[in-house]
């Protein structure tokens, strides 16, 4: 389905250099740090990172240590894209004046799902609209994990978090996951894609494409979070795959408005395969699972139509 005999030529496909090195404090089985590590491999040395508050910021830079080998700046929750805009403008002016040598520097803003789909949406939309040449990576672990698992607008329907507790009057998260990809596409930016570190080659390819884009690029990366999802920490890669194979998180890209499916997992697995073993979905009744299953299939069919897949 992806590549046979990976071990034979993986070393040639994935750059050897590491930019997010060991020494961070991410939880055991964190797929988010893996996603960032893979993405940075594709970006290379000439990169500036602006990072919103969140898991990746907290685990990577407990003062005075850091695991970044790249220029990196942290900013409040809502402003990663705004700071990236500033970096872009600042460098442009300095290059114009000849104070900085003209070169292609990747400007990358990274935020979590809360920092992207909730509080950071305004500055992200502004940066897309102004058409800065930068890459925005949303590492989506589907809740505010850093502060202790509170719901975000990216939390899937029905999931248990500390601020969407299931009980008599509630069945966990009451709203459907916000579709950030559609929001990004609506800004008419040249490159938008979804990815998952369970599919590393696909992820790296997409980061490379984002790098080549002539304008803003948006990557939405699903990152399994054993702590918040209440899953076993050795199963993160499997859950990423199950999310894709059940159609809950399809992998696709949108280049200049043209949709393309990266991977067709049909026939889809039932969502229960994906839910099984996740503590956050444990309370769901058949009625709710059925509701989610129907919605997942509908969204998948809609996406297939957009991608022109029969």
């Amino acid at each position: 389905m992806i590549m046979p005999n990976i071990e034979l030529y993986a070393a040639n496909v994935i750059p050897k250099e590491e930019y997010a090195v060991s020494g961070h404090r991410a939880c055991q089985g964190c797929a988010e740090i893996l996603a960032v590590r893979l993405a940075l491999k594709a970006l290379g040395r000439d990169t500036i990172l602006t990072m919103a508050t969140g898991c990746m910021e907290i685990v990577s830079t407990p003062f005075p240590t850091t695991d970044w080998k790249l220029p990196w700046i942290h900013v409040a929750f809502e402003n990663a894209a705004a700071v990236a805009s500033g970096v872009d403008i600042g460098l442009k002016i300095l290059m114009k004046k000849g104070k900085v040598k003209k070169s292609d520097i990747n400007i990358v803003a990274i935020g979590g799902d809360g920092g992207t789909s909730d509080i950071g949406l305004q500055s992200l939309s502004g940066a897309f609209e102004r058409y800065h040449k930068f890459i925005y990576i949303c590492v989506d672990n589907e809740a505010y994990m850093n502060t202790g698992v509170q719901r975000s607008s990216s939390t899937p329907f029905g999931a248990m978090t500390t601020t969407s507790p299931p009980g008599k009057l509630s069945m966990g998260q009451p709203t459907w996951k916000k579709n950030m990809v559609k929001i990004a596409v609506a800004h008419n930016i040249p490159y938008v894609a979804t990815a998952c570190p369970s599919y590393p080659f696909d992820l790296i390819e997409k980061v490379k494409k984002a790098k080549m884009a002539d304008g803003p690029a948006y990557l939405h990366i699903l990152s399994v979070c054993p702590t918040g999802w209440r899953t076993a920490s050795d199963l993160s890669i499997r859950y990423g795959r199950l999310a894709v194979e059940s159609g809950v998180f399809p992998l696709y890209e949108v280049e200049n408005g043209t949709y393309r499916l990266s991977l067709n997992p049909e026939p889809l697995r039932p969502v229960t395969d994906y839910f099984k073993g996740q503590g956050r979905f444990r309370h769901l009744t058949d009625e709710y699972i059925d509701k989610i299953q129907k919605r997942t299939i509908k969204e998948w069919e809609d996406l297939k139509t957009l991608c022109g897949v029969k």
Binding site: H74, A76, Q150, T162
Partner: protein, 351 residues
């Protein structure tokens, strides 16, 4: 019960039926408690907003509709809420904002700090306004002052800030909830509740006529004067015979108390003056105290913010030393004792 949970429980008991939060350490337990308890009850609303700005403006909306509403955050989040607080003050809408403060500036740390004193007591946002600021020093007091905050907000139509800190929020102590029935929700004349059968009301903060705005500011000022006269409160601890008085608020006062007990055991005549309301600052009471004691040691977990108010209250009538620990470092009573002893001897109070 943890401090954060005590605030939440006290707020519900005080009749708060609308809570709007947003995650930030170290006040998440408060939001989580509200999520668990308010979403379970009929006629209650819990919303986790998409940002702090939205959360405080939801309070603005709920309050203008006449409901009892509250939000909470910690230092960086409170900075975002300042715009909303300024609007709440301008429209004279009762509301309660909890700040379980942490180290700063910037994202700072998640450890307890008192660096938000200026921001809380000087208005904080734009415009010439004040908010009542309550500074509890124990979990019991967090519960009591939360109740008090809602009463004051309703009485003076003003946003009230509860300035705690990360340590108070996280620590566990036994709590007794004294008041059972919440006070009746006052029906405010200005509340927006539809215009069926009468003229519509409107609430605004903008006027292009400076004279009109001056009158608004005057009326606010008159109310602030009234609050200053009636609501300033403080705690005096062993100040009757004290030669040296430690001034401290919140958790710093708690630490100082431990140090003072040790100092008393050593035979040093030390007491403590603790403002419970940071605004209005109990200046009269401190001035009164300075008739008996001439030497003061201001102890804060910042680099000297309340010391300004202490000096202003004393009007030159006392000698003020300072001990501060910024950045979320929490000193232990022995460290404070060391400073107390040093100042005590330097000023020749042991003779």
């Amino acid at each position: 019960m943890t401090g954060n949970a005590a605030i939440a429980e006290a707020a519900i008991r005080a009749g708060c039926r609308c809570y709007f939060g947003y995650p930030i350490t170290p006040q998440n337990e408060l939001t989580e408690y509200m999520a668990a308890h308010l979403s379970r009850r009929e006629g209650c609303a819990f919303i986790q907003a998409e940002s702090e700005i939205s959360a405080v403006n939801m309070v603005y909306g709920a309050s203008v509709a006449g409901a009892r509403a509250m939000t909470s955050s910690s230092s960086p989040g409170i900075s975002l809420k300042q715009e909303g607080i300024s609007y709440l003050a301008a429209c004279q809408l009762p509301s309660v904002i909890v700040n379980m403060s942490r180290g700063g500036p910037g994202l700072g740390s998640i450890s307890a700090s008192q660096s938000d004193y200026f921001q809380s007591t000087r208005g904080g946002g734009h415009g010439d306004y004040r908010t009542i600021v309550l500074a509890p020093a124990s979990v019991q007091e967090l519960a009591d002052l939360t109740r008090r905050a809602f009463e004051l907000a309703d009485k003076y139509l003003i946003p009230v800030i509860i300035l705690g800190d990360g340590m108070l929020g996280q620590m566990m102590e036994p709590v007794e909830f004294k008041h059972e029935a919440p006070s009746a929700l006052p029906v405010r004349a200005g509340a927006l509740r539809g215009a069926k059968g009468r003229h519509s009301r409107f609430v605004r903060t903008f006027t292009s006529n400076p004279a009109e705005l001056e009158e608004v500011n005057w009326s606010l000022f008159r109310r602030y004067q009234l609050i200053q006269k009636q609501e300033a409160s403080c705690e005096n601890y062993l100040t009757e015979d004290a030669a040296l008085v430690v001034t401290a608020f919140g958790i710093a006062a708690r630490i100082a108390k431990g140090a003072i007990k040790q100092a008393r055991a050593l035979g040093l005549r030390v007491g403590m003056f603790r403002p419970v309301t940071l605004w209005p600052f109990p200046s009269e009471q401190l001035k009164e105290l300075s008739k008996r004691a001439k030497y003061f040691l201001d102890f804060e977990m910042n680099m000297g913010q309340m010391i300004d108010d202490v000096r202003l209250a004393l009007e030159g009538g006392g000698d003020v030393s300072f001990y501060g620990r910024p950045g979320g470092v929490i000193p232990n009573p022995t460290e404070v004792l060391r400073v107390i002893t040093r100042v005590y001897h330097q000023k020749g109070l042991n003779q």
